[in-house]
């Protein structure tokens, strides 16, 4: 990693400048993570007085636990659903906005602001719209003969949280897709048009392949978002229910740790999640072409 050719000669100043960031990182990032690692190897007795070293037993129990497998599955469905829905819609909107000339900025403004809404707030909004007794959407669904109830139906609850999570994320994906589309050379598209390629054909053979680095980047970011940033949506609405149907991994870590007081198991789950984030971050930084021109 380079510095400038010419640098300042101070012996102590760089350390002083780095100190705040590094100290906070050590105390509030590295130390708790090390503690999670250590705690994942211990088990407390029923009164929480003594803990004994149990090796990898907490992990073994987790992998034998059907509830944990259920949570893995739920997280998978939730992450895939949220990612596909929000990226699909965002790409469609971005392509159309990019074709507009006069109305481009107006549409962008309307599509961009949900980024500012907190996940928990997004959850409560959709929860209200889908409220089984007074919500507008259950009312409409009832007319076509569907009895919506996210309090008893796990499927309904999953659809609810996916919609809320995807709704909030559309703006993010839209901004990146639009930036990507604007960097596609106009001359390529014109050349294809002169050769007689239709709009659809131009999109799928020229524009979409050129967008693939950004699509891949967004894929990773969206999976990270769905797995780790959606705690608020779950906690403020379904609380993991009904009967574990929306109990995603980050929510389960919190529940087992703070509500269930099962620190060993919660710590083991933390360690597994850290492993997942580390893999995703490495993919994000190693394999993604980040020289996209915006």
């Amino acid at each position: 990693m380079q510095t400038k050719r010419m640098t300042f000669p101070s012996q102590w100043l760089p350390y002083a400048l780095l100190a705040p960031q590094v100290i906070i990182t050590l105390i509030f990032f590295i130390w708790p993570s090390a503690r999670a690692l250590w705690m994942s190897l211990l088990r407390e007795d029923a009164w929480g007085l003594r803990s004994t070293f149990v090796g990898l037993d907490n992990f073994r129990r987790l992998f034998d636990d059907p509830l944990y497998f259920n949570s893995l599955q739920v997280t998978g469905v939730f992450a895939v659903g949220t990612t596909l829905l929000s990226m699909g819609l965002a790409l469609m909107f971005a392509v159309m906005v990019n074709n507009m000339i006069r109305s481009r900025d107006a549409y962008s403004t309307f599509l961009v602001w949900p980024y500012a809404v907190a996940p928990a707030v997004a959850g409560v909004l959709w929860w209200f719209i889908f409220n089984p007794s007074i919500g507008i959407l259950p009312y409409v669904l009832d007319m076509v003969g569907y009895d919506w109830n996210h309090r008893s139906s796990g499927n309904d609850a999953m659809i609810l949280v996916i919609l809320a999570a995807a709704w909030k994320q559309i703006s993010y994906n839209f901004i990146f897709f639009l930036a990507g589309l604007q960097s596609v050379p106009q001359s390529l598209i014109e050349a294809a048009a002169i050769d007689g390629a239709s709009r659809a054909k131009r999109f799928w053979t020229i524009v979409f392949p050129l967008l693939s680095p950004i699509t891949f980047f967004l894929l990773v970011i969206n999976i990270i978002y769905a797995m780790f940033d959606t705690f608020g949506i779950i906690h403020a609405t379904t609380e993991g229910g009904p009967s574990q149907a929306t109990n995603i991994l980050v929510y389960k870590v919190y529940r087992d740790g703070f509500v269930g007081q099962n620190f060993g198991s919660s710590a083991a789950q933390s360690v597994i999640l850290m492993g997942i984030v580390i893999v995703l971050t490495v993919i994000q930084f190693r394999y993604i072409e980040r020289r996209v021109n915006y």
């Binding site: 640098t7 780095l18 708790p32 409560v124 409220n131 559309i170 709009r199 780790f228 980050v250």
Partner: protein, 282 residues
Amino acid sequence: MVENRPLGNLLSHIILIFGVALVVFPVWVAIVASTHPPGTFVRGVMPLLPGPNGWENYRTILLEGRSRAGTPPVIGMMWNSFVMAMCITLGKLAISIISAFAIVYFRFPFRIFFFWIIFVTLMLPVEVRIVPTFQVVADLGMLNSFAGLSIPLIASATATFLFRQFFMTIPEEMLEAARVDGAGPFKFFKDILLPLSITNIAALFVIMFIYGWNQYLWPLLITTDPEYFTIVMGIQRMVTGGDSEPLWHLVMATVVLAALPPVLVILFMQRLFVKGLTETEK
């Protein structure tokens, strides 16, 4: 656009209007609900047009809160959210810009090592290691304080990287000229780097203010004293705390107030916001 096709354009407009409607609809419903008296939500379907009670609802929630369910007046929670968001934002900006300055403009032992320590924060989001982080903060006696709400969240690898990248693009001659003129590191930082970084600082400010304002899980755990409740976590208490059905007209008024500040920030600083978002993620 290559060719002009009125039919295709019309279709695009229709789809986009549908998209905008999809994006706006939940918030429209919330705004409408926040203007109705409580009786509207007892039966039937929720209203889609504004009611007469807006002024009253907002006054109640802002100044009185819901004492029965243990939520303080919203105005206090908004102030807490603002203070927390500002502490996080300014803290992140301050420690990141000086870290980047150290990494780019000095050569010293363990430079790469420190860089990696900062990088590691990207891999350890707070949600993932929530229990031990809470214990550390509790051990330090930082529960129920603005320090506890903000300091553990202000380490920022993305901001440090962005500043580093930006500093690398500043011509070498700047430093050479400054050194020839006898400027030390502090003077160089204050008179040259800071003014040049203003746009980057502003763009990051927008992103981080939104990040700070929207914190949820962290304040939920750190605050037990209503005096420190923030508005985003307060909503959850209004929805689940208290008896049977939530008081929707008040909940939705709070939802609108919780979303308003960050949405305004985006609307008024859209260009900076887009710049901040696309540059930090690069």
